[in-house]
Each structure stands twice: as C-alpha cells, then as structure tokens.
C-alpha cells in the first residue's frame, strides 16, 4: 500500500534545497519512494495507492526538536517571570511531586502537542525517562530519550548520580527500537562531578548512544569554572576528555572563540534554544560563529516550563528576529537557512542525517503538511518566509512519522487528546497544590 500526497509545494531541504512548487510525494511503508513535479506524476498502476490532495499546502520534512523536557507540561505558565525560577520552582517541585505517572502523562500530552505542531523527532532529557520512552512509543513520535544524571537524589533516585544506573537500564531496554534511541544525560556541567561526567561519557561510548547536557547556559556556571578551574565549561569538558561527537550540547550561550574551535575539532553538536534563552534573559548564543566553522546546530524548544510552547515554528520566528538584531543585519539567516536548522541541520546534530531531516527518496517518511488556507498564510511568494514569519503551530494539517500518519485534519490520529489531558490533569493533583503554595511564598 502506497500513499501519495499531491498538489503540494515541496521544500525537500536536501543539500541543494530542491523545491517542487507543484509536487507530489509517495510513501511506502516507512520510506519516501517517489517525489517530483505533479506533471511527472503517473499514479499507481493498481488500486493500492491512497491519494491525499495537499491543496497547495507546503510539504516539508518533519521538524526536529533537539532539546526538550517534555514531561514538564505541568509547569507551564507557573512563575514565568520569577528570578531564579530553576531553584525556586523547578528543582523543588520536581523532587517533591514528580512521579512516574506524572512524567508519563506529561510526556503523552507534550508529545501530542509536538506532533500536532509538526515535530516528528525530539531529543528529551528528564527523570523516569523510561516513562517518556513508553509515551513516545505509544504516540508514534521519533524520540531520543535521555535519563538525567545530577549531583543530588531526585524523584527517581535515592542517591546522587543515581541516573547513571537508571540510564544504563534505560539504554539496555530501548536500544535497537525502530524509533526510540536511549541516551545518557548529565544535567549540566556544574551539577555533575568530573567523575560522573566521565562515567556518563563511558556509558555513551560503551553503548554507542549520544549524551547530552546543558552547557554554558548560566552566568553562575561560567563563574564556577572560571574560579575553580580557570577555564570555561567547554574547556573543562575537553580537559576531562568527554568532548566528542556523541555530545549534544544544549544552550551554549556563553562561548569563547577557543570553545568554538574545540567544539568543531571534536565534532560536538549544539541544541540552540532561542526562545527559552531569551525569555530567561540569558542571551543569544553565537550561532553565526558556530555555523561559520561548521559546528552542526539544531533548534530546541526546551521544556514547556522554559519555552512554554513545544513547536519548532515558534523557534523559527524568534531565531530570525534575535539573530538579525544581534548581528545588525536583516539579510543574515534568510528564512531558508532557518528552516534548515529545524530540519536537516537538526538531523546532523543527532547523526541521523542519513535517515531523516530532508525529503529524499529512500529516506524515512517523516513529513509535515502545512496548510496555506488559513488567513495568515496568504500570499506566499516564498514558502520558507511563510513558515518562518507567518505560520504558527495551528497551520499544521497532517504529519507522518516513519511512514505512519499521526496527525490528520489537525487532529491526532491514534490518540484522544481530551483523554490524555484528563489523565494528566488528574495526575497533577498534588503538583497543583504544591505549585500554588510555592507561588504564594
């Protein structure tokens, strides 16, 4: 059984940024098997082909969210504008109220939200990450799931660095899954000992899985390494031998020239979270400099506590405006370069560029149809511009992951969002009481 989407403006996001302004694309099983101009579409020789009329919409690769904490949906809109929110709300509420159930239901909800916004791959790090993996498996998203390692006992461990043990089990359990890649996720450079970071790297090497952590994100993180080691977080990671191409470094707001050189040299990828970083007043990561030397950069929403929405389209708009202002150049990062970051470049960060990130025959059928009938989507002289400057998550009409249709007519196909929300709401009972109590402190 094949499925063909017809009458679409295809942005392949391949090396040459090939476009088919009136195009078609055919899926068979989990792969793209044909693509081209409508005039070259011959249709199937037998009945076994479903035709979907794309009605002039934009067909693009599934978007890749390279950094999130999806189970943090319960925190959304809580204490957004507070100073030191991490230590005032996030850490204590996680330690007191996070249960496997809450992580699971939060993940199902947030994954639903991502799929509905055209995100087909996420890189997630959190606690009880096995629950996130289960939710991802059920919801049909492609997911990198990483267990957090941190220097204190957490909701899912009884001692500091318990995530190392949990993480190894997670890796053993999920490695080899078709859509799910387990990994290990030290929380940050300054919330882990040298020994723990080395162990995490060894696990990553042993099982050949990624590792990801928050790097060069906080002013006090920078101070710490300057004072303790007379270096930067990146310099420190290099010194202890854990800077390598399995590392996805999230945030990287504060980088020196030397840091950028080390990252390039060691093949490190970057998860850039412009929305989260700017909402928290932290600053704008030096993405231009990273891309100039060839460090792969993808876009991350961060958790729904930090960035509030889980869609990559919102990151497009924020990326454009922030990097244009920062570089004082309206022509820098034209829209197509930004769409690249959320698709093919994100795939490179995850070393998945051979399978996903662009629409090419033989690649996995992870794709998104953005409708152009809504009021904000007319006229379109440039489809990349429409995606970056006009579109929002509500324009996503249809989504396929691994060849399977997971969103149709702007609704989840295999899951009932109302039920997911009801379940999550119930699981949040204790969390809500404690959240409100802390807000009133």
């Amino acid at each position: 059984m094949k499925t063909t989407i017809t009458n679409v403006w295809i942005l392949t996001m391949d090396q040459n940024l090939t476009e088919y302004k009136e195009g078609f694309l055919t899926i068979e099983k989990d792969k793209i098997v044909a693509m081209g101009h409508m005039k070259d579409y011959v249709g199937s020789t037998n009945q076994e082909e479903e035709i979907i009329d794309g009605k002039g919409g934009i067909l693009m690769p599934g978007m890749i969210n390279v950094h999130t904490h999806v189970s943090m949906v319960p925190f959304r809109s809580l204490g957004d504008d507070c100073k030191d929110r991490l230590r005032r709300f996030l850490f204590p509420l996680e330690n007191e109220c996070m249960t496997p159930e809450l992580v699971y239901h939060g993940a199902k909800y947030g994954i639903g939200e991502m799929l509905l916004s055209g995100v087909t791959t996420m890189m997630d790090m959190y606690y009880f990450e096995d629950e996130v993996a289960k939710a991802a498996d059920e919801m049909g998203i492609r997911a990198f799931v990483g267990e957090t390692v941190i220097n204190f006992a957490t909701c899912d461990t009884t001692e500091p660095y318990g995530g190392l043990g949990y993480g190894e089990e997670l890796i053993k359990k999920w490695k080899g899954h078709e859509r799910i890649v387990p990994f290990i996720a030290p929380h940050a450079t300054n919330t882990n000992s040298e020994e723990a970071l080395i162990k995490a790297n060894e696990l990553s090497k042993k099982y050949d899985v990624p590792f990801s952590m928050h790097v060069a994100e906080l002013d006090y993180e920078m101070d710490y390494f300057r004072e303790q080691y007379q270096t930067t977080p990146i310099g420190f990671l290099n010194d202890i031998g854990v800077l390598n191409d399995r590392l996805v470094a999230a945030h990287c707001i504060y980088l020196s020239k030397e840091d950028i050189g080390l990252m390039k040299e060691n093949g490190v990828g970057v998860a850039h979270c412009i929305g989260s970083n700017t909402k928290a007043a932290k600053g704008v990561a030096p993405i231009k400099a990273l891309l100039e030397v060839g460090v792969p950069v993808g876009l991350g929403t961060d958790g729904p506590s930090s960035g509030n929405t889980l869609d990559v389209l919102t990151q497009f708009k924020l990326f454009a405006n922030f990097h244009k202002v920062t570089n004082q150049d309206r022509s820098i990062f034209p829209a197509k370069e930004i769409v690249k970051l959320g698709t093919s470049s994100g795939a490179k960060v995850l070393h998945e560029e051979k399978r996903i990130g662009s629409l090419e025959v033989g690649k996995k059928a992870d794709l998104v149809l953005v409708e152009t009938e809504s009021v904000n989507m007319f006229p379109i002289f440039d489809a990349y511009s429409a995606l970056v400057y006009s579109a929002n998550a509500s324009n996503v009409e249809m989504v396929f992951v691994n060849g399977k249709c997971v969103v149709k007519d702007k609704q989840l196909v295999h899951a009932d969002l109302r039920k997911i929300r009801k379940d999550l709401n119930q699981a949040m009972d204790d969390f809500k009481v404690e959240a409100v109590r802390r807000s009133q402190l």
Copy 2:
C-alpha cells in the same frame, strides 16, 4: 436584548488589574452593562438574554494594534530578508501597482485577519485611505485611518504632499463615525518638509484628530537630522512646534534621554513595533525608559510586509523575550504588564481610554474570548502568562466590537473570508507580475 458570556476567566485590565477567575460579563447594545463572579450572576428576569458559555476561556479586552498598514497584505513574504527592502520593493511597487481596489481588498483581508486574532482597534496609515475606511466600516473593526503625506507623488496623488488634500477630505468625510476616526499621517520625519509637517499638524489641530508618523526608526533618518540640523528627529519635531499630545510616534527606536523628556512633556504617545523592528535588524526601542517617565506605549504589528502577521499576541511574545534580554532581567515586564500594553495602554496612546482598552461597566463592549481547550493552553496557573507565552492567534474563539459579535467559533460572522481572499487574489494580478519581476532583479 442582552448577551452574557459565562464561565470565563476575566482579565479586566482595569487600573487594579481586577480578575474574575470564574466570571460573567453582560453586553447590551454597544456597552458592557454588568460583570462579576459567576456566583453573583443572577441571569435575566425575562427571555431577552442570550447566554454564551465561555467554557473556561480567557475573556479580555479587545487588543489594540496602534500601528499598521493593513492594505500591504499583498507584500507578505516578498523579499523578507533583503537589504533596503523599503526602497527596493515597497516604494516602487506601491507607486506602480497600488490601486484603490487593491487597497480596499487588501484592507478587507487584513482586517479580517486582525479580527480573527482578537484585534478590535487598529491605527492604520496608508494611501487611498478612504478605501481602508470603507473596508473597516464594512468589517466592523474600530479603526483610526490616516492618509499618508510624503515628499513625492504616490499612487493616489499626482504631486508631492498630495496626501494633505486627500487627508483633509478623508477627515471631513469620516469624522463623527461611531467606529472610525480619520487622521493625518505624514510618512516619516525625513520624508516630509518642515512645511508639510507643520501643515499636517495644523490639519490635526483644526479637526481635532490625531496625527501619526514614523519617527526615529532608521539609521539614515538619524544621520540626516544630525547632519542637517544637529538634532534628533524628536528634537526637530519639537523645534518646529509639532510635538504634542495628538501625535502617535511609531517605532521610536533611537531616542536620547532628551527625546524621552520632550515626549513626556508634550504628551506624545508611542506605537512600539517590536516584531517589525527586530525582523529588520533595526533594534529594540527603549520602552522601559519611556514607561518609567510615563509616556504611553501601545503595541503595533506594522504592516504585513514588515511584521508578516497582524496579531498583537505575536507581539506579546516578542516583546517579552526582547525586552527581558535587552534589560538582562527575566523579571522585568511580567506578562500582565505586556498584556496591558496591548490593551489599556494602547487605548491611552489613542486617547480612547475612557471608551476602550479595559473591561469595565459602561465601557464599549470590545472584547475577546481566548479558548483554553487547544493543546497549547494547558495548564494555566497564570492567564497573563498563557496569553503572552503560549497563545497564538488561532486560540481566539470569539470577538465583539462595539457590542457586535464579529468572530464566532473562530470564523468571521459577517464576512466570507474565502470570497475576500478570492477578490484580493484577483486584484493582485498586476502586482504579482511586478513583484516577481523585481524579486528576480
């Protein structure tokens, strides 16, 4: 006949930012006649009351877009990332291709888009502004319509400054309309002679209508006044006696301390267009400093060529992140302060605060119901946060202007958007040919 909206989280945006977490609001004719907690709602004693269940949505004042060029919808997504787009695309295409029909159909489309996103009042400046006024009248939005005055012959005038004559006719024709306020709109400080600016101000004074123009927006504008007059644009306007409380100054990116003092002293209001200004890499206006001295500030989307979307909700998010980063403080401008800018503060800029901008008994019934059932709107600990950080235009469920329901179930009530789009598309024929030609130059 009364209409009551029940079961809503009301953000009144009044002086005290009164909220009714489970509230109701009653409209009669063009006004709000009752409001309060659901427990105090007694219902009508007779049949003549329509009840609308708000289903836990957020009810807020209609949003006020204090700066736009709504008829520029045809330009959307054209040359977004080009240097000097104004002189490469905008001016020439306006002069060659703008017709009364295109202005009219563009305005109908863009006004439809605004209403659908919860904008109930716009301040617009363009050419053939009588067509914009007609479109606004038909679509039911509250509109300030200003004819552009500029130092060259334009699409609607045969000689420089022809807008002064057109503008006076516009004012005479529309003054006294219930929802439409005509005004005069010198294009910018550097595209008008001293004499023309003085004449525009005199017209504004004579008819007691606002005047609005682009001020301190461009680097070459700043250079011009520095070199020619050894002053700033604001200083120049003050020197020639046109800085007064009828002026709505759009953009104001580059302001000195002295400028801000002069603006306060003379009662000038500011239309802040964060999306447009940052997309064009121009910078971030000093809003903190303006608000500190008490200059009223509203939010503008600018035209759909510059900001691409016409909704104030997008400005909320951009405002938050840009001003937090610029001020290096995540707690500055908490969400409620931002919602204020888009509602009550915008009304002050237009000197309409006695009629609109907040939900209060006796005020005009300009209001917006934002649904909270979509995936991005859960949970909500803080309704202001949900509006600023989570919501997008697609969450707007219902809109009233002047007591009349103009959007229901996310659709225009009195207009057919498909027909408006078809008409606009037809009117764009010549424009499109020329636009594509210029893109290929």
